[in-house]
């Protein structure tokens, strides 16, 4: 039979030849059933894997208004994180450094560089430098930097080896599942408080040390909803 004339509103009741589905249509339901199963699995996979920050956010490295290098400042020069991110051990936000902090040095250092000129401009005109935010937490969650830093969780646990990065990029997914992983089993991310900003610090048995420190610092990370969703 032919499929042409399907849309014709012709009365076919008196035609000699009866309408019949072609024989190949008997194979179609099996194919449809299989593709439904495969389609369903694909949807779940898409949500679980592809929609994940693991896939979307890791490696996010936006261009910044000033070509500032953490590798130079924090790595080669060894400036402590807290010199610029002044609030990181004092409150919820780590805070971006104000232009004044940059000017502490750059009023005398490399004053003729093209990039430094932008800082001087911002300083003299009182205009904010529009840094691009890289690390974003999932919506409706509360995070306190000081709580973590003062419990011996190093910057490196969430931000990676920033001291080796020419331009900062995201290394961890910062997803809820990833947060929970550490809240459930924090030992390997706890170190002596004095090494918190030493990104290259290593110890022989971090798990063992972490367990001891958890006892010493009385660390008991919360896992209930209102810990973060306040």
């Amino acid at each position: 039979m032919n499929w042409d004339g399907l849309m014709e509103k012709k009365d076919i009741s008196n035609e000699e030849e009866l309408f019949l589905f072609p024989k190949w249509t008997n194979g179609v339901p099996l194919i449809l059933a299989l593709s439904a199963v495969i389609g369903l699995c694909t949807v779940v996979f898409v949500f679980w894997y592809w929609f994940s920050p693991k896939n979307f956010n890791i490696g996010f490295a936006p261009e910044q208004p000033i070509e500032y290098s953490h590798e130079l400042h924090a790595g080669q020069l060894g400036i402590d994180c807290r010199y610029c991110h002044v609030n990181v051990d004092k409150g919820p936000a780590a805070t971006l450094p104000s232009t004044e902090i940059c000017m502490n040095c750059h009023s005398v250092v490399k004053t003729n560089s093209k990039e430094i000129l932008k800082i001087r401009e911002s300083f003299s005109e009182g205009k904010k430098i529009e840094w691009e935010q890289i690390h974003r937490l999932p919506g409706y969650s509360y995070f306190d930097h000081s709580q973590h830093v003062n419990s011996g969780v190093s910057c490196v646990s969430c931000h990676g080896r920033v001291d080796l990065m020419e331009r900062v990029y995201q290394v961890e997914p910062l997803s809820m599942g990833w947060c929970l992983e550490c809240h459930r089993n924090p030992a390997k991310n706890i170190r002596p408080k004095k090494y918190v900003t030493d990104l290259s610090w290593k110890t022989e048995n971090p798990e063992q040390l972490g367990k001891e420190l958890i006892k010493k610092y009385h660390i008991n990370p919360r896992e209930d909803c209102s810990a973060c969703h306040r």
């Binding site: 004339g5 399907l6 849309m7 014709e8 509103k9 012709k10 009365d11 076919i12 009741s13 309408f19 589905f21 779940v44 949500f47 679980w48 929609f51 994940s52 920050p53 693991k54 999932p138 997914p173 997803s175 809820m176 599942g177 929970l180 992983e181």
Partner: protein
């Protein structure tokens, strides 16, 4: 009507009137599908379709603006969305009850109304599913409700009655749809074999799946239908019980009672049957199905409305008794507040619509009068909507702390959304009336006296 009164009490009322043969039944049921749609159908469709558009635009507005456009406040954080959800799910209980429970009890009169009621069930449950879907606020994360692996490592909380509800209602919808579809297969085959255009042949042909009516297939088919009925019967009772757990498992006075599951189930059947009666009166009148949907059927339905309405009235009384007998002052206050508090108007609408009016069905004259039953069936559904409103809102508006007491009134968005849900319901229903047989053709034929083979030879063998 005289027929009913003068009938011989030793004989059962015939289920089909008018002396139709097998072909006559097919012709009669298929007529609205094959004939050109009447004018009133087009007008009704246009009207309900515009209400459906209203629903869609309200949902769009809600998603765009956020749930602040609704009248919800603190402490009344559950308003129209939950009321409408429970209202529609309740209506959606009649179909499966008729199909499953009456099937298991061998109530043959169900064959004339089951298809109709099942369709109504499915459309009502679709309307119900809209509301919890949109009330979560961020609808794009509604998939959190299902146990799908996700990037947050979050899994649903299976100890929450709200999640039980997700499973109960979605299972109920799926099983009702399967039940409805299985019942439709032989009738779709009738439509396929009668189709006069190729497009109809193809579309009905695909959905009829190549049904030939062979007895080898009937054997498995009947077994499948019986098993589905056996599965759907406890399911239909579980669904509204679980809906009632949404309230009963919490600790709010007026909600936290063990009477809720049976009380909700009776109320659901009550409202569902009322809706079926309303729609049946219209359909049998407008499509001329009086020979199949007879007065006998309507009377049976009205008797069930009377029985369940009385159960609901009993539950209303018993709630007050428990509140008093418990000696719990919060519980006692909740009920005094219901009857005499700021929502007393809603409470008394509920009592008069649900308890008083259905009692008129004690009189045979009332239960066999089309205008009377039409009005009462609509009153019952108004009352049942108010029942859910009273339960949800009165308890919430009076918190444990008098400092957080409040009053809830819906906004225009609430009202238009509710109105729009009727548009969705009636659009689907009108399309059903036009494109699918509203009566289970093969089942009706099966209960006709001619359908029984008089097999004397077989008896000798046994």
């Amino acid at each position: 009507m005289n027929r009913v009164i003068t009938e011989d009490p030793s004989k059962r009322t015939p289920l089909i009137l008018g002396g139709h043969d097998f072909k006559g039944i097919s012709d009669l049921v298929v007529k609205p599908i094959e004939a050109k749609a009447p004018k009133w159908w087009h007008i009704a469709l246009a009207f309900s379709f515009s209400l459906l558009m209203l629903l869609l635009s309200m949902i769009g507005f809600l998603i765009w603006e956020g749930v602040g456009v609704w009248g919800l406040n603190n402490p009344v954080s559950w308003g129209f969305a939950i009321v409408n959800f429970v209202f529609w799910v309740g209506i959606g209980h009649a179909g499966t009850l008729i199909s499953a429970i009456l099937f298991l009890f061998r109530q043959k009169w169900r064959t004339s109304v089951n298809r109709f009621a099942e369709a109504m069930t499915i459309f009502a449950v679709i309307c119900a599913l809209v509301f919890p879907g949109i009330h979560v606020g961020r609808v794009w994360v509604a998939y959190f409700m299902f146990p799908i692996p996700n990037q947050m490592s979050v899994w649903p909380n299976f100890r929450s009655p709200l999640l039980w509800d997700v499973f109960a209602v979605s299972t109920y919808f799926t099983v009702s749809l399967l039940f409805w579809y299985v019942g439709l297969i032989p009738d779709l085959a009738v439509l396929r074999d009668r189709a006069k255009t190729k497009i109809k042949k193809v579309v009905y042909g695909i959905f009829a799946m190549g049904w030939t009516g062979g007895n080898r297939a009937w054997q498995n088919y009947e077994r499948a239908y019986l098993l589905l009925a056996a599965l759907a019967a406890p399911l239909v009772l579980s669904v509204h019980s679980i809906v009632s757990f949404d309230f009963a498992v919490s600790q709010v006075p007026g909600w936290h009672t063990t009477i809720f599951p049976p009380y909700f189930v009776a109320g659901a059947i009550f409202s569902g049957f009322a809706m079926v009666v309303t729609l049946m009166i219209l359909a049998r009148q407008l499509f001329g199905m009086k020979d199949i949907m007879t007065m006998h059927h309507l009377e049976c339905m009205n008797k069930i409305i009377l029985a369940t309405g009385t159960m609901v009235g009993y539950a209303y009384g018993m709630e007050f008794f428990t509140a008093w007998y418990s000696g719990n002052e919060y519980e006692a206050f909740a009920f005094v507040n219901r009857a005499f508090g700021p929502y007393a108007w809603a409470y008394w609408i509920m009592v008069s619509c649900n308890v008083l009016f259905p009692q008129l069905f004690w009189f045979k004259k009332v239960r066999t009068s089309i205008p009377a039953m039409f009005v009462i069936s609509i009153i019952v559904n108004i009352g049942m909507w108010f029942e859910r409103f009273v339960i949800t809102v009165t308890s919430l508006s009076r918190d444990f702390l008098p400092s957080s007491w409040g009053y809830y009134s819906p906004t225009w968005v609430d009202l238009c959304t509710f109105l729009g849900s009727f548009g969705l319901f009636f659009t689907l229903f009108l399309l059903f009336l036009k494109f699918l047989p509203m009566i289970a053709i093969s089942e009706v034929k099966g209960v006709m006296p001619e359908a029984h083979a008089h097999d004397h030879e077989a008896k000798e063998g046994h």
